[in-house]
């Protein structure tokens, strides 16, 4: 009885200190989480602030006369050598008839993007019946005009300090006042490949390149990784050799990715003579990268299958292979798929190994297959970040937003998949 009382007193005495410790610990946890969320918030806010303007593009409305003399000098529509540029210039001249002198005229022509002439060509090619008519077109403005409209170029600065002259600024204001200048959704960002002109640059080539690469990666790394995990976990005899293999695979998961790029360069490009900059080679290199991750995740998933299920199956007379494929594999599949998706999202964001195998080239065409030269989204971001044009700054951020969007979708699907397929044994 006595001992009970002293216990009570002792517990009561220490209670305050224990509560305080607990409170401090929780406070530390909350603070740490808050700091993390703060950094994340700042990161996303900066990204969105910088990149959201890239989703809009300034367009200029021009009246273009599709004169037959220019477009079909011999009576036949000439899509290759006709002076589409001239037609665009004529449209501009019609807007500002008072502009004279070669210097001023050149400045006038620079208000509109080079892509305008391609737009006219595509229009005539698709609709040859428009020949001889006058069309009102919205053509993309040049990137300097775009930057001025978005406020990235300060019109108040001295003329010598900005890329647009006072006259150009005046013309732009005039266009705006007459309702011939508009900002619209920048579809070119998603439909075009890379370009030297920022207003025409898009991520389509990079996205297709990344897509082909990921297809190769998943087609190779998932079956090989799962098969290797099953063999190592279920069938391999426990020996020093299998221990060595396990240690090596765990190490490979931590190897810097650029080393895999060097390996790819030496083996796939030099020795196997595969085409450089191809998504096939990129996919092979990323397979090497993702394989250890998938093997480790799959082994963990297999280990987690309770031995009682195995014993039940064995007791019924199932062979080892039947136990693995009928019972272990279905139960381990959610973990394996989650590991695969996480491995893929890591592969999607890799750029260092791809630089080594040549996917860093400036490629304008959208790749059509696995052996066409291509680039990947992270590499595209790297290239744009290096470009001097002002307009590429916002486009870099926009491309990062797109990449993060893909990664978010992949990781979200991994979480949903895991939740959906959770079972109770």
């Amino acid at each position: 009885m006595n001992s009970n009382l002293t216990t009570r007193e002792k517990v009561a005495a220490g209670l305050a200190r224990r509560r305080r410790k607990e409170y401090l610990f929780r406070l530390t946890g909350i603070l740490a989480t808050a700091v993390g969320v703060l950094f994340l918030g700042v990161f996303f806010a900066t990204l969105v602030a910088k990149g959201s303007s890239a989703f809009k593009q300034t367009f200029v409305q021009l009246d273009v006369d599709l004169t037959a003399d220019v477009l079909a000098p011999d009576g036949v529509l000439d899509l290759e050598y006709a002076d589409f540029d001239g037609l665009v210039r004529n449209g501009l001249k019609a807007q500002f008839p008072d502009v004279s002198g070669r210097g001023d005229r050149r400045q006038l022509y620079r208000l509109v993007s080079m892509g305008a002439s391609y737009q006219v060509r595509d229009l005539v090619a698709g609709n040859p019946e428009l020949l001889g008519t006058s069309q009102r077109l919205w053509v993309p403005a040049s990137s300097n005009v775009d930057m001025l409209i978005k406020g990235n170029i300060d019109a108040g600065l001295d003329e010598a300090l900005r890329p647009l002259s006072d006259k150009q600024v005046a013309w732009i204001t005039e266009l705006q006042d007459s309702g011939r200048l508009e900002t619209r959704f920048n579809a070119a960002l998603f439909t075009n490949g890379d370009s030297r002109e920022p207003e025409l640059a898009g991520i389509r080539g990079a996205v297709m390149g990344s897509l082909y690469m990921l297809l190769v990666t998943i087609a190779l790394s998932f079956p090989i990784g799962v098969a290797a995990a099953i063999y190592l976990e279920e069938f391999a005899p426990k020996s020093r050799l299998s221990d060595l293999i396990e240690v090596n695979i765990n190490n490979l998961a931590a190897v810097p990715s650029i080393v895999f790029g060097l390996l790819g360069l030496a083996v796939f490009i030099n020795w196997m003579a595969l085409p450089r900059s191809a998504p096939l080679v990129g996919g092979l290199v990323l397979t090497l990268l993702t394989l250890p991750v998938i093997i480790i995740a799959s082994r963990a998933a297999i280990k987690a299958v309770p031995p009682s299920i195995r014993e039940a199956a064995l007791g019924l007379g199932a062979s080892e292979t039947q136990v693995v494929f009928h019972h272990v594999l279905p139960l381990a599949m959610p973990g394996m798929l989650t590991g695969a998706i996480i491995g893929m999202s890591r592969a999607l964001g890799e750029s260092a190994p791809l630089l080594m195998i040549g996917m860093v080239a400036f490629i304008v065409d959208v790749p059509g297959g696995f052996t066409d030269p291509a680039t990947a989204l992270p590499v595209q971001i790297y290239l744009w970040a290096d470009s001097p044009e002002r307009a590429f700054a916002e486009r870099t951020s926009a491309a990062i937003i797109v990449l993060l969007g893909f990664l978010l979708i992949m990781n979200l699907s991994a979480v949903i998949l895991r939740k959906r397929m959770e079972r109770k044994w």
Partner: protein, 308 residues
């Protein structure tokens, strides 16, 4: 056979006996600091011989001089036993005496344990099951097993019972498979409760139902012997009673070897009882003989509750 005085609680003058008995008979504290008795010299003079009748009429499974080693640990020592067709034999003994180990030898489940090594012969229908040409898969189709904790597959009830026949190719078509599943569930006493929900997962059943599902799964393969490793220890008394009734019916078609901790259960369900102690088979005999007139001192001590 002299019995030490049960009511003698004096600690200063314990009566001499070949087996060390606890100083006081307060069962709780006695078990705490009690050490399982080894065979004394007197007993080993009997030649480490199993008392009683190892043999039986109509032997179906014959174990001869079976030894099991887990690494260096000699878990089962020189056990010889015969099991008849269509009988229920219970293996009893204190914890860690090797009865589950011996049971697992009968269908070569010890093969799955890395450090286990089995010597001696176990003959099923005259052929040694540990010979090289014996395929464990074929053996386990003849010798089924029900485990202590019910472990239905996370599949539907139908697929649970159909799994065995499927992998062994016992059913020609879907209709035959249906037939096998229904019959097995009925014989396991589960059909009435689940016949409307055969597509539901096996894990959605209660503990007792799950164990009956495991039994149905085992008999769907139509084995010759069913091994049961403490099948009722995880169940409540009512579920236990149902399974014991089931065993009564099943023993008309299959031999059943049941490992049990409960002597009452052994007395209820089995025809023969084998008592294991520290890896040795101490006594084998008919149930009534063992429980009314045990021949070995250790058996008697175990049955009367003095050890184990």
């Amino acid at each position: 056979m002299t019995m030490t005085a049960m009511t003698d609680t004096s600690t200063d003058n314990p009566p001499p006996s070949p087996v060390p008995v606890p100083d006081n008979h307060d069962s709780a504290t006695a078990q705490d600091d009690f050490v399982l008795p080894e065979f004394t010299e007197q007993q080993t003079e009997l030649g480490d011989k199993t008392v009683g009748t190892i043999t039986c009429d109509n032997p179906f499974m014959v174990a001869e001089d079976v030894n099991v080693y887990y690494g260096d640990n000699h878990a089962i020592q020189h056990v010889s036993l015969e099991i008849a067709k269509k009988e229920v034999i219970a293996l009893i003994g204190p914890s860690g005496c090797g009865k589950s180990t011996f049971l697992r030898c009968l269908n070569r489940m010890n093969d799955t344990i890395e450090s286990a090594r089995v010597t001696g012969t176990i003959k099923l229908d005259g052929k040694d099951i540990y010979r090289k040409e014996q395929d464990p898969v074929a053996l386990r189709a003849l010798v089924g097993m029900v485990f202590q904790k019910p472990n239905p597959f996370p599949k539907s009830i139908y697929d649970n019972v159909a799994y065995g026949p499927r992998i062994h190719g016992l059913a020609g078509d879907r209709a035959e498979l249906d037939q096998i599943v229904h019959t097995s569930l009925e014989r396991a006493g589960l059909l009435k409760e689940v016949k409307d929900r055969l597509d539901e997962p096996g894990t959605s059943l209660s503990g007792g139902q799950q164990q009956r599902l495991c039994i149905a799964r085992t008999i769907a393969v139509n084995p010759e012997i069913i091994l049961m490793d403490e099948p009722c220890s995880a169940l409540d008394p009512i579920a236990t009673a149902r399974i014991e009734d089931l065993m009564d019916e099943l023993c008309e078609d299959y031999a059943i070897v049941i490992v049990t901790h409960s002597m009452q259960q052994a007395a209820r369900v089995s025809k023969r009882v084998a008592y294991f102690h520290l890896g040795l088979l101490v006594e084998v005999d008919n149930t009534d003989k063992i429980f009314t007139n045990p021949q070995h001192k250790l058996t008697e001590d175990y049955i009367t509750g003095r050890i184990g």
